[in-house]
């Protein structure tokens, strides 16, 4: 993007609007790349819809398990300021230098004082409908949205609070302020990212489904809460009308989506998968047999590995699928059971269910028009943010970017990828200001305590009355003082408060403490704070330990004061035994070569190269073919019509070739990669056969994919049978003429060999069918399909094609179309499911929608980089949901069709995302790694390689030393899980901070008292 000329200075800060998973991801990428981030949300905490979900498809991962570490990381990031209860009231300035005005609602709580202990909510006499649980439960008038909320600061619901004053009396932290007023704020930022997410469709608008009238008709988001173990029913599926476990549930798809009448013609893109997931999880969560039926129009399982999930849902999990749009739902008022009315095989049918779940679609966020007006951005006809194919994260206003469901309905991984992509764009225009708005913390030099006898200090927290009300804290303190090596112990009202941090630092120095223990809440949220505190007092942070006497003691043994006190003492004794053995650990520092290597010069590789170069980094771009462009070369025009892909390709290639920071190698190949994050060395075999060695800090894999060469339907034997790409080329050249065309979908996809969907062929078929109709409206075009997967706004073109007379006919695997050559005439025979007859047509041309299959080079590249492939042969990312462009191995990323088949805008989003993720590394001179790493004793190592195989991060390599092959840990890559150590046959591997000796000391001390 050309930089705008502005005389005002650019600002190295970014405003991110919306704290869902997309906003969180964008914030973390920006903050990790040296930019200040203001993350605003209109609600009291971040997390978005993902925080409400039970499981996520297609891995059935627990949503909170994977989200909460990101929440904590965002909340604690020194470069991220979270502003909750905030809305934008005005915007001035230009890209690079914006002034944003905000209004913040009052919390009636002093945020700095509230430590989230929750006593106020326990005592609050008022009960309010809990919207986090979608109205299925109650919360108090003073509340946090959910237990893991970030920031964990309570808020008073002013509309419901009766002002009884109880919370103020009970709050030991004096955090309640009833007269607190709302505030205004002005932020100066260089760019803005919009991630306001979506609004679930209001199901009462589809009155025929009875939502709001029949209690056992629930929405899919309500059903997520019903499924959740932390939800209103504890994870047991119950009917809201009578609390009975249902035996039969119907899932109704496309509620508020693909519905022209109500004005939402688009497809919400995620509902097919989440409906399937909810059906599967409901079956898992129900102790008795549960029948789950999904009523759908097309099953749009178009994402990576989604069809495999669909197969399992039908086979292994026994979910029933009925292809029909449900006409209505009625209720038997006596039983609360529901009658689902639908049409199958042209026959109206009615079936009784215990419960109905409506798979509701995504709508633009509330008040979006006001936001758009204040920011000056254009919305599309459905009031989602307007974007273009080749600039999917750019709004109509320069400097304002978009990601997530606000750009178009989408699922989590695509939101996350787009969020990283938007982060790349947002930092690209202010790259020169990197590091200007952030603070880095300086610590005093570390004291060497290795020769000292352990001197342990113990700080026991009352946590107001959360711990002190159950556990006898003074007794625990007195007891702690009797323990070996404990030289100091005290109680604090709140150990986490600012003044206690100061006190801990003083006590460390005054008492010459060299080990510190805090007995309070959970290390998951508070350990980093205390580690910082001891570091500020000159101690190595690994000389700190924590034990949880609140969440795992006082809160769960509230009525057993004595036993809880005993347990707290046991916990302090055992952690003290471990603390005695703690050793300072060094955080390995590794230098970073600020250069990128990109393998593959298609649209993804070129986009990633330009983004990295725009950030100021040197890039080596290696393409195997003679020219850049990859798959994009074959695309003649777009479904969305606006952009000309040929022109875009030319300008992309030109920008790449003209960029001084990008070194392009065509007809070349990467033949070897050594090293690890920050420090790779690779060999490129150039077109002239010569090898060149380069040094680089990251690798981006963008090897693309290829069109399947069909072996079915007479392809290759008859020139009248062509693929979609071949058709597209003919149309573009103007050489295509036909009176009758049959297109066959899913050729080489969704079959036994390749069970997954190739994603882009439905859109391609619609695109080409529309082109044919445009040139010659009288030409008959048939599209024979299994499911038309025109997701998102592509649904509009599906509708347009149908309106223009393209004939769509569904076929099933059992009755595939037949193509034959009868005396020189092409004949296609297929089953017509509406009239229930075999139909024969004689087309001039048969077009096969051939799948997009993995690049055959992938195997070699995967072996070279030691990264995994899926069964299908695409590259396998670190985590399908939250790390879509990372590999498990640090410093290696992927994007585009190397990941799976996708449209141009999706490849571009991923390419920018990979660039942003890479920038979090390249923007640092050096990386400080975690100190908890594996150590190999070379004397003990037998070189068996088990650890090398086990390590999911490629952190163990085998090295030859003195004639022996020994395991060597690359500290930069080790994540400290310890799997290698426990499997080591010779016990040659120890884990820092969790040595067997330390773990056993901890346990033995626990058991000591019991035995005595």
């Amino acid at each position: 993007m050309p930089e705008e000329k502005t005389d005002r200075k650019k600002i190295g800060a970014v405003l991110v609007v919306g704290g869902g998973v997309a906003g969180i991801q964008a914030s973390l990428d920006l903050a990790d790349s040296g930019f200040k981030v203001y993350l605003i949300d209109q609600g009291p905490s971040i997390g978005g819809v993902m925080a409400q979900l039970d499981k996520t498809f297609p891995t059935n991962d627990c949503s909170m398990c994977i989200l909460s570490p990101k929440l904590v990381a965002t909340g604690r990031h020194p470069n991220v300021t979270i502003l909750t209860n905030a809305e934008i009231t005005g915007l001035n300035g230009k890209a690079g230098n914006f002034e944003v005005k905000l209004r913040r609602k009052s919390r009636y709580i002093i945020e700095d004082k509230c430590n989230g202990c929750g006593i106020c909510a326990q005592k609050c006499p008022i009960e309010v409908v809990d919207m986090y649980n979608e109205g299925l439960g109650k919360r108090s008038a003073i509340y946090v949205e959910y237990p893991q909320a970030v920031p964990l600061k309570y808020m008073i619901d002013r509309e419901k609070c009766i002002g009884c004053g109880t919370c103020q009396e009970i709050c030991k932290a004096n955090a309640i302020q009833y007269d607190q007023e709302g505030s205004e704020a002005t932020l100066e930022v260089g760019s803005i990212i919009l991630a306001p997410g979506f609004e679930p469709f209001d199901a009462t608008l589809k009155s025929e489904y009875g939502y709001g009238r029949f209690p056992n008709v629930v929405t899919s988001i309500e059903f997520e809460r019903i499924l959740s173990a932390s939800g209103p029913y504890g994870g047991l599926v119950l009917r809201p009308s009578d609390g009975e476990i249902p035996k039969k549930i119907a899932f109704v798809q496309c509620v508020g989506s693909r519905d022209f009448q109500i004005g939402n013609n688009y497809c919400s893109a995620a509902c097919c998968m989440y409906g399937m997931k909810e059906a599967v999880i409901a079956k898992e969560h129900t102790p008795s047999k549960l029948d789950a039926t999904i009523f759908y129009m097309d099953m749009r399982a178009y994402g990576k590995e989604f069809d495999a999930y669909y197969e399992r849902a039908q086979g292994e999990w026994g979910v029933r699928f009925v292809r029909s749009r449900v006409a209505g739902v009625t209720e038997d008022p006596k039983t609360g059971n529901l009658f689902v009315h639908y049409v199958e095989d042209e026959t109206p049918r009615t079936e009784e269910f215990d419960m109905v779940v409506l798979s509701i679609g995504m709508q633009p966020p509330k008040n979006v028009e006001k936001l758009a007006e204040r920011l000056g951005i254009r919305l599309n006809k459905y009031k989602f943010c307007e974007t273009e194919t080749f600039s999917p994260m750019e709004t109509s206003k320069p400097g304002v970017f978009v990601c997530g469901a606000f750009a178009a309905p989408k699922d989590i991984p695509e939101s996350v990828a787009q969020a990283s992509g938007a982060a790349a764009k947002a930092m690209g225009i202010i790259a020169s200001e990197r590091g200007t708005q952030v603070t880095s913390k300086e610590y005093p030099p570390e004291k060497d305590v290795s020769k000292e006898e352990p001197r342990i200090g113990v700080f026991v927290c009352h946590c107001g009355i959360n711990i002190g009300g159950v556990v006898n804290v003074p007794e625990v303190v007195k007891y702690a003082k009797t323990l070996p090596n404990v030289v100091y112990a005290e109680a604090n009202l709140y150990t986490c408060s600012q003044d206690t941090q100061k006190l801990i630092r003083e006590k460390i120095i005054d008492n010459k403490l060299n080990r510190v223990i805090v007995a309070s809440c959970t290390p998951r949220t508070h350990e980093p704070l205390f580690k910082e505190t001891v570091q500020e007092a000159g101690l190595n942070p690994y000389l700190f330990e924590m034990t949880n006497i609140r969440d795992q003691c006082s809160w769960v043994h509230m009525h057993e004061h004595e036993k809880a006190t005993e347990k707290a003492k046991d916990l302090v004794r055992s952690i003290a035994a471990k603390a005695k053995l703690l050793k300072p650990l060094e955080k390995p520092i590794i230098n970073v070569t600020p250069v990128g290597l990109i393998i593959g010069g298609g649209v993804s590789g070129m986009t990633a190269a330009l983004e990295l170069a725009g950030q100021g980094f040197e890039v080596h771009l290696v393409e195997r073919e003679e020219e850049l462009g990859g798959h994009l070369r074959k695309i003649q025009y777009l479904l969305e019509k606006k952009d000309d892909p040929k022109k875009k390709l030319d300008s992309l290639v030109k920008s790449v070739m003209e960029n001084d920071r990008i070194h392009v190698y065509t007809g070349a190949e990467v033949v070897d990669v050594y090293g690890f994050v920050g420090n790779f060395k690779s060999k490129i075999r150039q077109q002239n056969g010569k090898e060149k060695e380069i040094e680089h800090g990251i690798v981006i894999v963008a090897t693309g994919a290829v069109e399947y060469k069909p072996t079915e339907y007479l392809y290759g034997k008859d020139t009248r049978i062509i693929t979609q790409h071949e058709l597209e080329e003919k149309i573009a050249k103007g050489t295509f003429k036909a009176k009758n065309v049959v297109m066959i979908q899913c050729v080489g996809a969704r079959n036994e060999e390749r069970p997954n969907c190739a994603r882009i062929c439905c859109g391609q078929a619609i695109k080409n069918a529309l082109k044919i109709k445009e040139a010659s409206p009288e030409t008959e075009v048939y599209i024979l399909y299994k499911d038309m997967r025109a997701y998102g706004f592509k649904e509009d073109y599906y509708r347009e094609a149908a309106m223009k007379g393209v004939i769509f006919i569904n076929y099933e695997d059992e009755r595939k179309p037949q193509v034959a050559d009868e005396n020189g005439k092409l004949k296609v025979t297929f089953w017509e499911p509406v009239i229930k007859e075999e139909v024969e047509v004689e087309p001039d041309v048969v077009v096969l929608s051939a799948a997009t299959v993995p690049n055959p080079d992938n195997k070699h590249v995967a072996e070279m980089l030691k990264v995994p492939l899926t069964k299908d042969g695409f590259f396998l990312e670190a985590h399908m949901k939250l790390r879509p462009v990372d590999f498990a191995t640090d410093g290696i990323f992927l994007c585009g069709m190397a990941h799976s088949p996708k449209y141009i805008e999706e490849s571009i989003a991923q390419a920018c995302a990979a660039a942003a993720r890479a920038t979090t590394i390249l923007s640092k001179k050096s990386l400080e790694m975690e100190g908890i790493v594996a150590n190999v004793s070379e004397d003990l190592c037998s070189g068996c390689r088990i650890c090398e195989y086990l390590c999911p991060y490629g952190a163990v390599e085998m090295k030859d030393k003195d004639g022996k092959t020994l395991a060597h840990v690359i500290e930069a890559l080790c994540k400290g899980c310890g799997a290698c150590g426990t499997a080591c046959p010779t016990k040659a591997i120890t884990m820092g901070h969790f040595t067997t000796e330390e773990i056993l000391a901890q346990v033995k001390a626990t058991l000591l008292e019991a035995k005595a």
Binding site: A229, D551, K563, F994, V1003, A1010
Partner: protein, 258 residues
């Protein structure tokens, strides 16, 4: 009489189960206070020798809690742990120490309720089993010795190499690019667990004093012929040597294993 209050050690992975335990706390779900939690980064960190040592020190129960399959923060540490626990249970069954005192469960970060239920149920189960034969002032020496043998077996290269390599061999491939069928591997492991346990038992017994095949057969409750087989194997691996012969009966003595 005072009700038996078992000592239970829980090893919880940092990312899922520990968070689940925290959620139980946040939700104020009450459960018995017997459990003492040790936080580890990954359930896969629990080396087979750790539960054994813990039992030897008198714990009445050990529960290892990790992420559900697919949720592991380190991708598959929990699945490796599952294999280790499976082996460990086989080993425990040989010692006369109830394998039910050891359990592996999956608890996610959102399963506060489930955490409390699992802990409650496990505590109840341990209460029913009664105090560990190794707790209190007079531990059962025979079982203690058996557990020592089991610990030594679990420290032994042979068992560790098989348990460590199990997933690679059964799910990926061996050096010949062949996959070993799970049943085949299971029966191999079963055999090795038994053999290693008996060998280390024999090793412990003969460390105290030289013993004959017949005396050993009585002590380990095996046929003399089978004991002899084991001694032959142990001699090959330098675990044992002939000490002296009394009349027609040879006596064997353990060698210190490095």
């Amino acid at each position: 009489m005072v009700e038996f209050e078992p000592k239970i050690i829980g090893f919880l992975c940092n990312w899922c189960s520990y968070a689940g335990a925290d959620l139980a706390g946040v939700s104020r779900i009450q459960y018995p206070s017997n459990i003492r939690v040790v936080r580890v980064m990954c359930s896969g960190r629990i080396d087979p020798i750790i539960p054994l040592e813990v039992f030897m020190h008198g714990a009445d129960g050990v529960i290892v809690l990790g992420c559900h399959p697919g949720d592991c923060h380190y991708s598959e540490g929990n699945l490796y742990e599952e294999r280790k626990i499976k082996m460990l249970k086989k080993l425990l069954a040989l010692t006369g120490f109830e394998p039910d005192r050891l359990r592996l469960e999956w608890v996610s970060a959102s399963e506060g309720q489930r955490f409390a239920e699992v802990v409650t149920e496990f505590t109840e189960q341990i209460k029913k089993l009664g105090p560990s034969p190794l707790s209190g002032k007079k531990p059962d020496d025979r079982i203690l010795e058996n557990l020592q043998a089991a610990t030594n077996a679990a420290s032994d290269f042979r068992l560790r190499v098989l348990v460590g390599g199990e997933r690679e061999l059964t799910e990926k491939c061996n050096v010949y690019e062949e996959k070993i069928p799970q049943e085949e591997f299971d029966s191999l492991l079963e055999e090795v667990v038994k053999a290693e346990y008996v060998r280390h038992k024999i090793h412990l017994l003969t460390r105290a004093q030289p013993l004959s095949v017949r005396a050993l057969a009585g002590a380990v409750e095996m046929k003399p012929a089978d004991v002899l087989d084991q001694i032959v194997a142990m001699r090959r691996r330098n675990m044992i040597a002939l000490d002296h012969v009394e009349g027609t009966t040879p006596f064997y003595k353990a060698l210190e294993v490095k």
